[in-house]
Symmetry: C2
Subunit: 173 residues, 2 copies
DNA sequence: GGTGAAAACGTTACGAG
DNA sequence: CTCGTAACGTTTTCACC
């Protein structure tokens, strides 16, 4: 019985609607606006871009269907919800074993206090951006992530004194 | 002539509607949902939280007016718009002079390729998360940011091999 | 905090270029 | 294949309970 994953041959088309999509200037204009405020009325976008609402609508649907827009999120102010501290961690793993990597990444993705996790070149393996309510919360987190049954060789903590710029916006056009 | 910054006395009230607001579990539930998808219909949120749409509506307005929700953004997929590379930079400034700091921060906020900028404790002064179209684009950026008329003592580049987790979501409740 | 009517908004079908 | 117009359905908003 065939239990493996069905792989695509070279000639197959990758049909997960993630193929690169051509974007014209008007698409980019739409993205520029929505990157700053998703709640902008389509009518207003239409005015600004010089298209009808229907056209903007269609483009928007295409942008979302093709995962050019990967998500639409409300950005919450950390201090307003008691997350008063931000840290930046450099993490070095014990081995470059693939299984450990997979386990570690999964752990990061499942931990809400880890906002961001980057696998990088250089001395460290991973760089994490982490929020915590207070020092105690942070200590508990490092305990969970790095001591209890872990393959972390060492880690280095930087305290964020100021979140000078925090965004996911991209340069467009 | 008075040229300094007008400081608030201890007894002044900071009247920018950014004062801490009490959040109950239902507010947190609303935030949890919107953090993942701002486009969730209010009716659906109401169902999930166990309130009427009007109530959710009012809470939402309060959350936005009080900057608990600081913005609503569309997250764009970097690769889809030609931003194929991500870097993490450690930057050390020449002096801890306040004016230099202010100038540097402003530069970071005005540069679209700098997505994030954190002022941190430790060896480095700043940590940047940067996107670029390619190596050439990245080179141009470092040139602009760090060489032309700058107070940067040194910087270190890490190439991001994988954006394992990239979000601005916070742990709530 | 809930209800419901009015208004605003997003969506889709259609015909045109 | 993409546009705009216009009618349609849904969602949000708001005065009132």
């Amino acid at each position: 019985m065939f239990q493996g994953v069905r792989l695509m041959s070279n000639t197959d088309t990758c049909n997960d609607s993630r193929r690169t999509m051509e974007l014209d200037n008007q698409d980019l204009e739409i993205l520029k606006i929505l990157q700053v405020d998703v709640r902008t009325a389509i009518e207003r976008i239409a005015d600004q871009v010089g298209l009808s609402t229907a056209s903007v609508q269609r483009r928007l649907k295409r942008l979302r269907d093709n995962h050019v827009i990967s998500s639409d999120v409300a950005v919450v102010e950390p201090k307003a919800v008691g997350q008063t501290m931000t840290f930046l961690l450099h993490v070095e793993l014990d081995r470059d074993n693939l299984d450990f990597l997979v386990v570690f990444k999964k752990k990061m993705r499942n931990e809400p206090r880890v906002q961001q996790c980057y696998y990088v070149t250089g001395e460290s393996d991973f760089i994490l951006i982490v929020t915590a309510k207070d020092m105690e919360d942070f200590d508990a987190l490092t305990q969970e992530l790095f001591f209890d049954d872990s393959n972390v060789r060492r880690y280095k903590t930087s305290v964020v004194m100021e979140r000078t710029k925090v965004s996911l916006a991209l340069p467009l056009g």
